[in-house]
Each structure stands twice: as structure tokens, then as C-alpha cells.
């Protein structure tokens, strides 16, 4: 018994050496993957993109010092709940399903979903055209939910990242992909995406929800109120428009 206690004490000591006390800064979680134009890592190790600028603006409006915490998309909600971050700002859409586990701020942007397929393919936005076709989507996204609900006859294939399903579209392993219209733009204008086009816009408010918001733990109501005030402020004082101008030719806030 004594031995066990010594071992446990030793382990605890080793653990405490390797663990740092959590910082008081506000930690903002983003997905550790390239998702241009919203967020991507530059070669110098910094993150850039519309959403990264937005995080900066919102933090300035809240008077908070923020730290960006990149984490894998499929582990991002567990990481929030385990307090590895305080807010998720990773183009996460507000959905009823997610609201069972986490709370959301007001939306800060809303862009339509689209289906992309090779030019010359007969696929369009309606369910009949994808019957028996393989459709690629990113796992646990509103786009995956849409495909599950509306494209029951299609063979849905899940990918961990947006990038991966586009790679497979190029490789011909999927016939079409469903994703965010703006995130598709950099791909469609790249060399690899030359042979593809947007075949249709997909609409279903029940699936897509009101738009993209910041994800928070349910108990952090004060932080949610602060974040909402900051989003409102950024919208009203023109910062939002300033940032959007750098990336888009239109307002992505949505109606």
C-alpha cells in the first residue's frame, strides 16, 4: 500500500511539473485546418483570414486579450467542454443539435451552402440528380446534415476536413461535394478546381439554421452577453465592413 502511495505521489508530482496553470486570457478555438478565406495558417505560423480578423476585432471590442487555440474540427466541442478554450469561432453554424450541448452567441455571418461537381456533370441541387452518386461532405457539419436529410438516395461519404473532400473530388472518388459557398471559392479558383463548378444553392432553414455564431459553454452566460455586445458593436461601428472588404465583394452577414 505504501508503495502504491509513493508511486501515485510521484506520478502526481510529474504531472504537476508538466501541467501549466491555465491562463486568464480568453481562449478562442479555431479548427486546425486550412479553411480559406475564413482561416488558414500562413507559412510563418500565424493564422490569417476573415474569421481570424473577426476574432481580433471582437476581442478588441470586448477589451480582452485573446489567444487562438487551433484544435481538430471533430474534437472542437469536447475541447470547449474540457475548458481547453472558452469560445469556438470556427465557422460553426448555430443548429438545434449543437444547442443541446453548447450555447451560441448571435450569428456573425451567414452564407449559403452549395453543391459542387465537375463541369458537364448532370448533378444539380435537387435530390433526383444525385441518386446513386457519391457525395462528399465534412463530418459533423450542417452540410452533412443536409445530405443526410435530402439526399437519402445518394451515397454520402464523410471527411474530417473540407480540404480532404475537395481532394477526393479532384481525384474522382466522389461525384460531388456539398459545402459553404465562400469556402468553395478559393478551391474553384485554384488549378485543381478548374474543372468544377457550383451546380446549385441548397436551402433549408431547418438544417442550416440562422448562421454562424460563437460556441460557448452553457454556464458562461456573462461571456455570451459580452460576446453578443461585441459582435453588435463591430457590426455597427463599421469594423465588420472594413474586414469584409478585404476578402469579399459583398456583405456576408446575410439577411
Amino acid at each position: 500500500m505504501k508503495k502504491i502511495i509513493t508511486i501515485l505521489a510521484g506520478t502526481a508530482a510529474a504531472l504537476s511539473m508538466s501541467a501549466q496553470l491555465a491562463f486568464a486570457d480568453l481562449k478562442i478555438g479555431i479548427a486546425a485546418e486550412a479553411y480559406p478565406p475564413f482561416a488558414e495558417k500562413a507559412a510563418d505560423g500565424t493564422w490569417k483570414g476573415w474569421e481570424v480578423d473577426m476574432i481580433g476585432a471582437v476581442c478588441a471590442a470586448m477589451n480582452e486579450k485573446c489567444e487562438i487555440v487551433p484544435i481538430a474540427w471533430d474534437g472542437i466541442i469536447p475541447a470547449l467542454l474540457a475548458k481547453k478554450m472558452d469560445v469556438i469561432m470556427a465557422s460553426m453554424s448555430i443548429t438545434e443539435e449543437r444547442q443541446k450541448t453548447i450555447a451560441f452567441s448571435d450569428k456573425y455571418y451567414n452564407t449559403p451552402a452549395v453543391i459542387v461537381a465537375p463541369k458537364g456533370s448532370s448533378i444539380s441541387g435537387d435530390a433526383a440528380s444525385v441518386k446513386g452518386k457519391i457525395v462528399g461532405v465534412q463530418v459533423s457539419t450542417i452540410h452533412a446534415n443536409y445530405v443526410e436529410k435530402h439526399f437519402g438516395d445518394a451515397d454520402a461519404k464523410s471527411y474530417n476536413t473540407f480540404d480532404e473532400h475537395n481532394q477526393d473530388l479532384v481525384a474522382g472518388r466522389v461525384d460531388a461535394v456539398v459545402g459553404d459557398s465562400l469556402a468553395m471559392q478559393p478551391f474553384l479558383s485554384s488549378d485543381a478546381g478548374k474543372g468544377f463548378e457550383i451546380k446549385g444553392e441548397l436551402n433549408d432553414v431547418a438544417v442550416f439554421g440562422p448562421g454562424v455564431g460563437g460556441g460557448l459553454r452553457k454556464e458562461d452566460t456573462d461571456l455570451a452577453a459580452k460576446l453578443n455586445a461585441a459582435i453588435k458593436k463591430v457590426r455597427e461601428d463599421g469594423t465588420y465592413g472594413e474586414i469584409s472588404k478585404k476578402y469579399f465583394s459583398f456583405d456576408i452577414y446575410g439577411g
Binding site: 508538466s18 501549466q20 491555465a22 486550412a34 500562413a42 510563418d44 481538430a72 474534437g75 475541447a79 474540457a82
Partner: protein, 237 residues
């Protein structure tokens, strides 16, 4: 070709520096985890051979469970659930919350997994040492401890090295699993570089070459170690 060299340049806008930083993290975790695994393995093997029934059963459960569950599941468990449990425990005792960073979480999990495998490697190696040598050591009056440090362990090492070399290579590849928790090791850096530049083939090949280099260097080092410990033994035919 020029484009490729530009992408792989060491300073931004090239991504070469990022890949090497990723490789460094990968090696850090691999070394740490491997060292932890060796300690656990050595203790585990001795426990399995000389321990009482409780120790033996405990170790049996450890090696069976760990070798049954995929590392990926263990990493996710420890990183998310483990940190949460630890913090809940700390808070209930009135301590501050801690944040275990990816590096240490990786070392602990992979080390813990490696410990189970190396326990078995060491156990087999111990049992391969000829009984006559152990009896001889005891006969000239060495204490059990001394006979182990002087005779059994040195005689056991040549038997363990091939298995341990294998485990080391597996460890270096296991680190790639930490990309899942968003830890910037070689694989995640590669993915980000590939995603950022859209030249997937180039970067995945570059990463493969780096992993291969690690393997080749390791093989040379393990060859040296094996030669050293096999000196005086009849040549293997």
C-alpha cells in the same frame, strides 16, 4: 520544380521551416514516450516474472487492455476526458485548474501504450536468458539485485533489442495520431502546408521522406547498440 523548392524553402513564404519544427515536436514526443515506455516495460516485465499473484494479474490486465484499445481512442480519452477528470479532482480539493498541453499528453499516452508492448518484449527477453547463467551468478554469491544488474539484464538486452527497435519505429509513427488533438507535429504541419498551398503530393512526399530519414537513422543507431551488446556472443548464422 522551382515552385516546389519555393514551397519547401526554410523561411516564409516557404513551409520547410514548419515541417522541420513539426519533425522536432514529433521526435520530442517519440523520445519522451519511448523513455517512459521503457521504464514501464522493464518494471512491468520484472513484475510479471517475480511479482506476486496480485501484481501479475494487475499487469496482465494492463497489457491486455492497452494492447486491445486503439491508440487513437486512448489519446482522445486522455486528452479530453482525462484533463477534465484531473481538473474536476483538483478543483474539488481546492487547487487551480491546469491545462495539460499536447506535448505532455502525447508523451503520457503513447508512453503508457508503449509500456504495455515493451513489457512483453522484455518479458520474453528475460525468459530467453539461459538459466545456467543466473544459477552461476547466484552460486558465486551475488545478491539477487547484483546478479540482475551484472548478469541477467546485460544478457537479456540482445534478445530485447530487435523488438525494442521495432517499438521505437512504431512510436515515431504513433506521434502522427496527435494531429487529432490539434497538436502541431509533423503530420498536422504537413496537412496545413498542403492545405495552404494546395500542393498535396509535394508536402505529403516531403513528410514521408522525413519519416523515412528518421527510420534510416534509427536503424543505424540500433545496429550499433546491438553490435555492442552482442560482443562475445557467437555470431548469428
Amino acid at each position: 520544380m522551382e515552385q516546389a523548392l519555393e514551397y519547401l524553402a526554410f523561411s516564409p513564404p516557404g513551409w520547410g521551416g514548419n515541417l522541420l519544427r513539426g519533425l522536432l515536436s514529433t521526435l520530442q514526443i517519440a523520445f519522451g514516450a519511448y523513455a517512459l515506455g521503457l521504464c514501464l516495460g522493464l518494471c512491468g516485465a520484472l513484475g510479471k516474472i517475480y511479482g506476486g499473484p496480485v501484481t501479475r494479474w494487475g499487469l496482465e490486465i494492463y497489457t491486455t487492455l492497452i494492447r486491445a484499445v486503439p491508440e487513437l481512442v486512448l489519446i482522445l480519452l486522455l486528452y479530453y476526458a482525462g484533463t477534465d477528470l484531473l481538473n474536476t479532482a483538483l478543483e474539488s480539493f481546492g487547487y487551480e485548474r491546469v491545462d495539460i498541453d499536447g506535448l505532455w499528453a502525447g508523451i503520457y499516452v503513447i508512453g503508457f501504450v508503449q509500456g504495455a508492448y515493451s513489457t512483453e518484449v522484455f518479458r520474453a527477453a528475460f525468459q530467453a536468458v539461459p538459466t545456467g547463467q543466473i544459477e552461476a551468478a547466484r552460486a558465486i554469491g551475488m545478491s539477487p539485485f547484483k546478479s540482475h544488474t551484472r548478469v541477467v539484464i546485460p544478457a537479456m538486452i540482445p534478445f530485447a533489442i530487435p523488438g525494442l527497435a521495432n517499438l521505437w519505429l512504431i512510436t515515431t509513427k504513433d506521434t502522427a495520431l496527435l494531429a487529432v488533438v490539434g497538436f502541431s507535429e509533423l503530420l498536422l504541419e504537413t496537412k496545413q502546408a498542403a492545405g495552404g498551398t494546395k500542393s498535396y503530393l509535394l508536402f505529403y512526399c516531403a513528410a514521408a521522406v522525413l519519416y523515412l530519414l528518421v527510420t534510416l537513422c534509427s536503424n543505424v543507431i540500433f545496429g550499433q547498440i546491438e553490435r555492442h551488446y552482442r560482443r562475445g556472443q557467437p555470431a548469428q548464422t
